[in-house]
Every structure is written in structure tokens, then in C-alpha cells.
Amino acid sequence: MARPALRPADVATYAVLAAGALVMLLPFVWMVSTSFKTGEATFVTPPQFIPANPTTDNYARVFSTVPMGQFFVNSLFVSVTSTALMVLNCAMAGYAFARIRFPGREILFYAYLATLMIPQQVTLVPLFALMTWLGWGNTYQALILPASFGAFGTFLLRQFFLRLPREVEEAAFIDGAGYVRIFFSIGLQLARPALATLAVFAFMASWNSFLWPLIITSNQSMMTLPVGLSFLNGRYATDWNVLMAGAVIGTLPILAVYVFAQKYIIQGLATTGLK
């Protein structure tokens, strides 16, 4: 059977998609290119994509200014831990909100949702006061725990369970299992795509979080990558080579993870019935 020739519509589609992909990727190429340039090669027209005299000085300056390696380890540990906790917490609560009738359920749920609508900037001080009262200033738990709970995730999972047919669970009930056991043995299994989706969001939110880590960490041993980038931005406000080197260091690890896992991430997003 002969392969059908490309239809004009397909050619147009490819052209649009390719142009769009270029727009998506070029900024990253430009970032990497600038990070290897000297000052002289930076401020030229037309711009050079391949630096004339590539240098790694900018990276050296980033690392001599802030310990990006340490920041990376902190970011990774905090994001992974808080993501795992977030997924579990939201799944449990979302399941209960969807499946179990209990007094105060609606009010509680609306209280959760309301927290999404207040800017984080004004809750910083009370939250900080709480953390120091607990003696948790400059600790991993102070970085991790606020990122381990959230109304968005609870909402997402509740919606997911609401749409899920109850038949499988009914059978388990007849066998005498309680809600908790059913959740862990059946609910969690069925919710895997939704959990994957939430994991992506939670990871991104934690990885990108900036203001809270800035406030709660007091020395470089606990700081995370966005705080480090902000340090660089304050120190090298107009030194684009150093700033881009910092951006590369802050971006590449997550991109590497993404390239490796993107199939699962996007499939997870696509199959969760998120809408």
C-alpha cells in the first residue's frame, strides 16, 4: 500500500507547529548562548548564536557568588518531599470530600477554596510567626510543609473522585471494608493519572516558589534555586552573561527531568479528565 502523500492541510499544520516550536525553544538557545559569551560578544548586532570566543567564566562567577550546587540539592529535596506529601494529603482529603458525607463538609471545602484567592504576600507574616513559634525557622520542614498542602490539589482530586463510578468500591463495601481501606487499596490505584497530574503541578509550584523560601531561610545552607537566582539578579543586574549562566543552572536540571519524564507527565495530564 502506498503511503498517502502529505495533504496541503498537513503541510500547513507542520509549518505552524514548527514555527511555534521555534518560538518556544529559541529563548532557551539564546540563554545558553549568552551564558557562554564574553561581554564584548554580547552587545553586538546582529546577535551571535554561536559565541565567537566562548568562555566559561560566567559559570565560574555564578558559583563563586552563590553555592548553586547546594541550592540545587535543597530545591530537589524540598520539591520531591513536598510533592509526595501533597499528593497523599490531597488524595485522602479529596476522596473524603467526594465520598463521605460529614457535618461541615461544604463549609470546610469553601474555606479551602477561599485560601486560593488571597495573595500569599499578606499571609507571609502570620505564617512566618507560626514557623518561628514552632522553632522551625531555617529548617527543611518549614520549606516543605506549607508546600505539602493545598486547596487546588484537594479540589482537583475531589472532582476526579466525584466523576469516578462507584461500582468497584461498592463491591469492597459488601466485603466489609471501610472507607480508609478502600481508599488505600482501590481509590489510590484508580486515581493514578490524577495523582500524576497533581504531582506535576505540586513539583512545579514548589520548585519555582520564591517568596516563602526567601523569607524562611536565613543562610545559604538552606536556600533554594530561585532565591539564589534572585541573589544573582541583585548582584549582577546588568551582567546578562552571568544572569543567563545562573538561569541555565536553574533551568537545566528540571528540563533534564522533564525530557526524561515528559511522556508520563503529558499522558497523565491528558488522561486525568482535567477540565
Binding site: S64, T132, G234
Partner: protein, 409 residues
């Protein structure tokens, strides 16, 4: 040793040292991070060697984020024992009662005399007759010039008797569109503005700061001059022409002949400017005026360790060890009077005319601080920006600024 390992080592030491009979002073700073952490560690080590019963731990943030953090920490009742403040913010912290009066501590400290500090600089950190802080360092702004560009254009170097007129004439000769060289640069923003109006005999407020004089004729004339250098005489690049490069970068690239900037650029220019340069007093119009910026350190009003915190601050600001570490690293200029301390500064090679830094102190203008300082800088800054971009005439911009500032005075 890299900074990372130093920091880790310092933390490790802090973590393992016995805490039983020791006091720990928590100190918060912006000027040390991220460039002078090694120097801060060395200063702390020297202090702890002299005071075995006191430990110093510190927290840092970049200047942009520092006050967000410091205020959050204080609001939550977790103020550090001691912290750094620039002069502008010192005023509002002191008037809100956040700082401890150091007077009793100093009076009890018989072996110590405040004569070691530059009196003007120290006085900046007092309020209503009480000393709320010690002066840590100061810096100012002078006129930097590229000698090679002057030689090439056959223009005489700037001298102390230059006024705006001579500056403009020289700048016009030095500006060369073909090579991308600009004659003179000063930013158009709040800080530059209050100094420039002082050079024209103007001020933002009357003497006791009860009236706003922002739109006085002298001020309008001064702003007109700032704007004209860009738009009319074309001796100064516009923001778009600078294209995200700093003025210091352009100076280093040999593209600005005269630059008004801070003495904190000495280190960078010495290392990276590949031409001859020097400094001079700034030209004024009817008067001479130079910026004066100071950083001070204060003890929290709520600290339980005020005595120990005071010891640390005294060491940080006036001890020979601390001053030497500071001067050697170019970590701002300690505000001490002892000539032998300062000699090390004057002896450093570039720029040749380092004494100008001290001459400029004779005509210093301090920031026109009011209680709502950050609102003031935002309001006036926004109007100056409008004038810079040609959205408003200098007269309009300053009238609007005056109207907006009156309610917050």
C-alpha cells in the same frame, strides 16, 4: 577555600561548638552578601577569638530583599540581636522604636571613645539626642573620567572649579556618535535628583521638613538640565540607547567619558577598565554638592543579648582587625578617623586622586529622609521617570510630585 566550603565549615564549627556558657549574637546583614562573606567570616573569627564567650551567627539577604525579610522577622517577634541598616531606613526604624539606645552601654564602656568615628557619620545614626546605631561604613559619589578619551579629544581634565557649563562644553567635545562614545552620564532618578538640585541651591523640603519645595524654580531648572543632557544636547545616552547595560559597563567599555558614580566602583574599574582613569569633584551649578551614603549597625530593642550584641558591633565597626579586612577587600569605607587606618586606603594605586573621596565629604548632602521614605522615593521616582521619557515637562512632573508628596509628609 571556596565560599561554599568556608560557609559550610563555619556552620559546622557553629554547630559543634559548646553552647553552654556562651551567648550567641544573631546578626543580619545585606552588605556582606554575596561578595564579602569570606571577609565577614574572618571578622567574626577575629571577634570570637577576642571574646571566647560570644558566638556570632549571621543571616544575609541581597539588598533588594533585605528589608522584606528583616521586617517580617521583627514583626514575628524574632528580631536578630543586631542588624545592619542604611541611613535612610535607620530613621524610620529608630522612630518606630525598633532600636535599642546604645547610650547606657557606651557610657558603661569606659575603655571606649566614640572619637574613633567620623563625627558627621556617627551623628547620622542618632535621633533626638540618643545614639541608636554605630556607623559601619560610608561611601559617596564623585566624577569618574576616562583620561584617554580626554587626551584624544584634546580636552583638559575636570578640575574642582568646573561648573555644569564647563562640564557640558567638555561633554560636547567628547561625544562621538561614530565611535559610540558619550560625553557625560548621570542617571535620572531620585538619588541623583536630590543631589543635583542641591548643586543648584535647591532642596526637596524646607529646613524643618514641614513644607514641600519640590517644584521650586531652582529644582525645575536642575531637572531641565538633567533631561537636556539626554534629549537636547545628546551628550548622555537614553535608557533605550543604554539597552540594559549598566553605566559602569559602558564606562569600562570606554564609551562614557565622565561618569557620576559611587566609589564602590573602584575595585571593578581598577580590575577591568583597560585605560587610564581618575576621579574629580563633581561640577555643580551654583553650589558644590556630593552624595553621602552611610551604613550603620544597630541593636534590636527587644534583644536579650544587648551587651554582647553591642560588643560585636563595636568590633565590626571600629576594631583594627575589622577595618583592615574591610579596606583590603574594598568592602566599602570604614567611617573611622584614625589616619593610620585610612592610610591603607589612600595608598592603594588606582585612582590616583583618592583624596577626592574625603574632599567630597565637605559638601556632603544626606538623603532627605522623612518617615514615609519609601513612598517618597517611589512617588518622586515615578515623576522623574515621566520627565525622563518626555511624558511630562520638568515643571509638570515636579508639580505633580509635590502634590503627591504633601499628603504623606
Amino acid at each position: 577555600m571556596t565560599k561554599l566550603t568556608t560557609t559550610l565549615a563555619a556552620l559546622l564549627l557553629l554547630g559543634t561548638s559548646p553552647v553552654a556558657a556562651e551567648t550567641t549574637v544573631r546578626y543580619m546583614t545585606f552588605s556582606a552578601a554575596p561578595d564579602y562573606l569570606d571577609e565577614l567570616d574572618a571578622t567574626i573569627a577575629a571577634f570570637e577569638a577576642a571574646h571566647p564567650d560570644i558566638d556570632v551567627s549571621y543571616e544575609t539577604a541581597s539588598f533588594n530583599d533585605y528589608f522584606t525579610k528583616l521586617q517580617t522577622v521583627i514583626a514575628a517577634g524574632q528580631a536578630p540581636d543586631a542588624f545592619e541598616l542604611n541611613y535612610e531606613n535607620f530613621v524610620s526604624f529608630a522612630s518606630k522604636g525598633a532600636l535599642a539606645d546604645l547610650g547606657p552601654l557606651m557610657a558603661a564602656d569606659s575603655g571606649f571613645s566614640t572619637a574613633i568615628y567620623n563625627p558627621t557619620a556617627l551623628a547620622a545614626f542618632s535621633q533626638a539626642g540618643k545614639q541608636y546605631g554605630l556607623v559601619e561604613s560610608f561611601s559617596n559619589v564623585v566624577l569618574f573620567y576616562n583620561k584617554d578619551l580626554f587626551d584624544k579629544a584634546g580636552v583638559a581634565y575636570p578640575s574642582a572649579d568646573w561648573t555644569w557649563k564647563e562640564e557640558l562644553e567638555a561633554a560636547q567635545k567628547l561625544t562621538d556618535a561614530a565611535s559610540g562614545a558619550w560625553g557625560s552620564f548621570a542617571p535620572i532618578q531620585f538619588w541623583e535628583f536630590y543631589k543635583t538640585i542641591a548643586q543648584n541651591g535647591g532642596a526637596m523640603f524646607n529646613a524643618d521638613k514641614t513644607e514641600v519645595t519640590l517644584d521650586s524654580p531652582a529644582n525645575v531648572e536642575a531637572l531641565q538640565w538633567m533631561v537636556d543632557k539626554v534629549a537636547r544636547y545628546r551628550v548622555t545616552p537614553s535608557d533605550a540607547e543604554m539597552a540594559g547595560q549598566g553605566d559602569g559597563d559602558l564606562f569600562k567599555a570606554g564609551r562614557i567619558a565622565m561618569l557620576r558614580t559611587g566609589i564602590w566602583m573602584f575595585g571593578d574599574f581598577s580590575a577591568n577598565a583597560k585605560f587610564n582613569w581618575d576621579i574629580a569633584l563633581e561640577p555643580g551649578n551654583t553650589a558644590k554638592a556630593h552624595h553621602f551614603f552611610a551604613n550603620g549597625v544597630a541593636v534590636s530593642a527587644n534583644s536579650a543579648n544587648q551587651q554582647a550584641a553591642y560588643e560585636w558591633l563595636k568590633f565590626l565597626t571600629s576594631s583594627k582587625e575589622a577595618v583592615e579586612i574591610r579596606i583590603k577587600a574594598g568592602w566599602e569605607l570604614p567611617a573611622v578617623t584614625d589616619a593610620s587606618y585610612v592610610q591603607g586606603y589612600l595608598d592603594q594605586p588606582a585612582p590616583e586622586s583618592r583624596e577626592v573621596v574625603f574632599q567630597a565629604l565637605d559638601t556632603a548632602v544626606t538623603p532627605p529622609v522623612i518617615n514615609n521614605w519609601n513612598q517618597l522615593t517611589d512617588i518622586v521616582g515615578k515623576e522623574l521617570e515621566a520627565a525622563k521619557l518626555g511624558q511630562k515637562t520638568p515643571q509638570q512632573a515636579l508639580s505633580d510630585a509635590a502634590a503627591a508628596v504633601r499628603p504623606i509628609l
